[in-house]
């Protein structure tokens, strides 16, 4: 049974690849109906699938493909001219074939899909009964040749379909064995021939005597399984030549020889993902190593071993980077995989919409990470459908405008720095900014005021708003106002950007800029208070340093002027609920974020720098936190959160601009005093005696007293936040940190802005007093002092309630 599963898997992989190629060929065929090469290729696909499916007992699939084969066979022999109507039926049957294959993939059986209707239509065509399908001439022709065709089929039939159904399992087994052995022999011969004569093998010894055409075909199937990509291309050549002469038959395998030279293996994506994860770990370790190297360098400057260390570190980091690129490359797929389905789509659409549209594809070799290739398909489908429906005009309109009847849509992919750009151009009617604004106003997507201030470029982006549609009527193609919204969300999910440009009657150009990979990204690290955040660099347009008075408030929102634009601002601390412990300085940095076409200024305290980071998920427990895309581990081993720019943009709309203003109300409310010991005073002095004197002076009041030995200790006690101090008595002369420095440090904290600091010192000069005031002291008590005096100063400064006295 396992063997069967294996064969089935091979069959499916092969068939899907063949069918994918088929779509392209068929559209091509329509424009060149007499291209025998193409026809042969298509015929072979149907035939191969039929052969394999009958072997695997998929009767429905066999039935369908058999009839397809009939039609194609006629066309191949010139008995049938492929008209668009016939093509429709063929395409329909291909779709059915795809559906059947998918069914087989999912359920291992091909039951449940009705092919009768399609088969009937195919029959009609192959029987020449083209009533309503083609004109009388073709009809006649078909009738004439029907007889000849029949005769031919009689000849072909016996070689083609030995009755595998009625073979008993042993026979089937034997057949497989035989085919395998034969193939191995052939392979061997081929290899020998290659060694002997290189690629060109004009006269190879004929293959074993049991070689009848059917076996040959069977063999190719097996071959195709091993080298699936080139098979569809080379197969038609092989089949046509085989028909002509024995010589060509021998040459056919030689033609395929290059296929075996290009050695590929299929690898489970999971393994690649795992490999990618490991590389991620390595990159983190590398970052760490570099940081340590820097530290060591600083400390042991000039030492000899440093150079060696430096070398090793740079080699490790170089190799890691190379390794990362190499593994990333293994995950790359050509974007052609996605582009392939569009010729067919355009063909269907142009018929449906009665327009003439040509699709020009370039850069299909451009490579992208597998996960991105998978995600990019849907947005592209929407954009192209949109271009067909709204962009390109009907042939009449086009002629009236003096344009060629046939519209052109260009699909391009190319590299640009660290990004891939996918560009979709059409030469249709273009977007009318005025009309877009009116429509959006009508649908309530924007307000009148917004419309007035909108530039043309901004107006173009309106098409990406949910609920927007320019189509006058909802068609089956588009007009529901969902499509382009989906495009935007999907592209943003990939950290990509959309750029749209248009000119009336000239056309529209949409550019999608997408990062190469998802797992490792460049990020800008920013700091707010004591926290750090990483912002994907792809979303950062620029950074600006501003002073506070450049921030204006408009309708409760902070904005700033950036060159000619007004940029709305939001403080990162407001979004991530960062506690304002440190007082913000006079200057701040604004990180200008751009996503798609919207912009936002994010205010941060400091810019830390640019770094390559590995994205790690926060796990199930913390997933879905708004505004956080994940986390990364930094060189120092700490965790830094990665900002989700998409979410941040929408969160910014709801955040109030409390930004720079500080509110101290909460603190006042919390310090309601009910008894003398609720008052807490810190005494900072390096002399035990002085501290005791102060304690003795204050104890009669009943307040709580905390002592600290020097400035540093006092600061640590404050930071720990175990007490809520009402005042501090500070000596000036202290080791480690003196009173002035301590006062300056304390005043940096928002919380302690209003904490009364009282200097208690033997320094009496005026300049000392001045320094005290500068550093934020409110009172200056000179030693010696009376206990009552000290107590009264403290009472005054802490608003000591008189009832406690």
């Amino acid at each position: 049974m396992d063997e069967f599963q294996e064969i089935l898997q091979d069959f499916l992989v092969e068939s899907f690849e063949l069918v994918e190629k088929l779509d392209e060929d068929l559209v091509e065929l329509e424009s060149h109906p007499d291209d025998l090469e193409l026809l042969n290729g298509i015929f072979r696909v149907a035939h191969t699938v039929k052969g394999a499916s009958s072997f695997l007992n998929f009767d429905t699939l066999t039935h369908l493909t058999h009839h397809m084969e009939d039609v194609l066979n006629k066309a191949r022999h010139g008995d049938l001219i492929i008209s668009p109507d016939i093509m429709d039926v063929i395409l329909e049957s291909i779709d059915l074939m795809k559906a059947l294959l998918e069914k087989i993939r999912d359920t291992s059986s091909d039951d449940g899909i009705d092919v009768a209707a399609c088969v009937a239509r195919l029959d009609k065509i192959s029987n020449g009964d083209l009533s309503g399908l083609a004109d009388a001439v073709a009809n006649e022709e078909a009738n004439k040749e029907a007889a000849a065709e029949e005769a031919q089929e009689v000849v072909e039939e016996p070689e083609e379909e030995p009755d595998y159904d009625n073979m008993d399992p042993d026979d089937v087994e034997a057949e497989i064995e035989r085919l395998l052995a034969q193939r191995q022999a052939e392979d061997k011969a081929k290899r020998e021939a290659k060694i002997a004569a290189g690629e060109e093998v004009p006269s190879m010894p004929p293959e074993p005597s049991d070689e009848e055409p059917k076996e040959e075909k069977k063999e190719e199937k097996v071959q195709a399984k091993k080298a699936p990509t080139p098979a569809p291309v080379s197969a038609p050549k092989a089949s046509s030549k085989k028909a002509s002469s024995d010589d060509a038959k021998a040459a056919a395998p030689a033609k395929r020889a290059p296929a075996t030279v290009e050695q590929t293996i299929r690898v489970d994506v999971k393994r690649l993902d795992h490999l990618m994860n490991l590389i991620g770990e390595l990159v983190l370790a590398k970052n760490r190593l570099i940081k340590i190297n820097d530290d060591v360098e600083e400390r042991y400057e000039g030492e000899e071993f440093l150079e060696e260390l430096n070398q090793v570190v740079s080699i490790v980091s170089l190799v890691t980077t190379d390794l990362q690129i190499a593994v990333m490359k293994t995950r790359m797929l050509p974007i052609g995989k996605v582009f392939n389905k569009f010729p067919r789509m355009i063909r269907d659409l142009s018929r449906e919409l009665n327009k003439k549209i040509e699709l020009v594809i370039s850069g299909e070799d451009t490579e992208l990470d597998k996960s991105i290739v998978e995600e990019i398909g849907d947005p592209l489908v929407h954009i192209i459908r949109n271009s067909c429906d709204h962009g390109v005009e009907t042939p009449e309109e086009r002629l009236a405008k003096g344009k060629p009847e046939e519209g052109t849509i260009t699909l391009k992919a190319y590299n640009e720095g660290n990004q891939i750009v996918i560009q979709i151009d059409d030469d249709g009617k273009g977007l009318d900014p005025q009309m877009l604004k009116e429509k959006s106003l009508e649908k309530g997507v924007i307000t009148e005021k917004e419309a007035e201030n909108m530039s043309d470029k901004e107006a173009f982006t309106l098409i990406f708003r949910p609920g927007f549609s320019t189509a006058a009527a909802v068609t089956s193609v588009s007009g529901r106002g969902v499509g382009m919204d989906v495009v935007k969300t999907n592209i943003e999910k990939l950290n990509g950007m959309i750029d749209i440009d248009s000119e009336i009657d000239k056309g529209t150009s949409i550019k999608l800029k997408i990062p190469l990979t998802l797992a490792i990204i460049q990020a800008l690290l920013v700091g707010v208070q004591e926290e750090h955040y990483a912002i994907p660099l792809a979303s950062v347009l620029e950074t600006v340093r501003i002073s506070k008075d450049e921030i204006y408030t408009v309708e409760g929102r902070s904005v700033m002027r950036l060159r000619d634009d007004v940029l709305s601002l939001v403080h990162i601390g407001d979004i991530f609920e960062v506690e304002r412990i440190l007082d913000a300085s006079e200057h701040a940095y604004v990180v200008v974020l751009g996503l798609g076409t919207s912009k936002l200024g994010l205010i941060v305290d400091i810019l830390v720098g640019q770094e390559e980071i590995v994205i790690k998920s926060l796990g199930d427990y913390l997933k879905g936190i708004e505004g956080i895309a994940g986390a990364t581990i930094r060189g120092d081993g700490g965790v830094t959160l990665i900002v989700d720019v998409v979410a941040l943009m929408s969160m910014a709309r709801d955040v109030k601009a409390s930004t720079m203003a500080n509110n101290n109300e909460s603190e006042a409310a919390s310090s309601e005093k009910t008894k003398p010991s609720d008052y807490t005073i810190m005494v900072v002095d390096d002399s035990k005696t002085d501290r005791t004197i102060m304690r003795k002076s204050l104890e009669p009041m009943g307040v709580t007293i905390v002592e600290a030995n020097d400035g540093q200790e006092a600061l640590n006690i404050l930071k720990a936040g175990d007490y809520n101090f009402d005042a501090m008595l500070i000596d000036i002369e202290m080791p480690r940190m003196d009173g002035y420095t301590l006062a300056t440090e304390i005043k940096k904290y928002n919380r302690y802005k209003n904490l009364p600091l009282i200097a208690v010192t033997s320094r009496t000069s005026k300049s000392d007093r001045m320094r005290g005031v500068e550093s934020g002291m409110v009172e200056y008590i000179t030693k010696p002092y009376s206990a009552d005096y000290l107590a009264s100063v403290v009472q005054r400064n802490v608003n000591f309630k008189s009832e406690f006295l």
Partner: protein, 164 residues
């Protein structure tokens, strides 16, 4: 010689069986203190126990989720059980530990006040949770009775379940 070997192998087999037999009716737990209460969790659901390390705050989560920390390259959530159990915040000290618990693919670190010890307790001495806290939503798995005290055994899967 081979007989001897067989003998030894047999003996070992028997020994193992008897060990398994013992394990069958004994649960191994690790006890720890939060506030004034002693709690325990099955030893097998503990990945490791570490001393407190620095962590990164995560916004928009309940107070008891302190943030995330780096455990040898993995980003793991850190949950403060004191806060989760409604106890006032206490400063971390020398006895504070992070217990990293695992259930299936879910991993999280939990801050506890201090460890007590590994406990072997017979299954028959583990009772159901008190009637007042039964139901599916309780994080109490059962109550282990020991000579002089009782220990609340917690459900690790419930602890690791996101409830916000």
């Amino acid at each position: 010689m081979s007989d001897k070997l067989k003998d030894i192998i047999n003996k070992q087999g028997q020994q193992q069986e008897s060990v398994v037999g013992q394990l069958d009716d004994v649960v191994q737990l690790v006890g720890f203190i939060i506030g004034d209460e002693e709690y325990a969790i099955p030893i097998l659901s503990i990945q490791e126990i570490i001393k407190p390390i620095s962590w990164t705050r995560v916004p928009q989560v309940p107070k008891y989720v302190l943030g995330v920390f780096n455990l040898r390259g993995s980003v793991i959530p850190l949950i403060d059980l004191r806060t989760k159990f409604g106890l006032p915040i206490k400063k971390q000290n020398d006895e504070t530990r992070f217990i990293v618990m695992r259930h299936g693919d879910d991993v999280a670190g939990f801050v506890i006040d201090r460890l007590t010890m590994a406990i072997r307790i017979k299954k028959e001495n583990v009772g159901p949770p008190p009637d007042t806290v039964n139901g599916d939503n309780t994080i109490i798995d059962g109550v282990g009775k020991q000579e002089d005290k009782i220990i609340t055994i917690l459900k690790v899967n419930k602890l690791l379940e996101r409830d916000f």
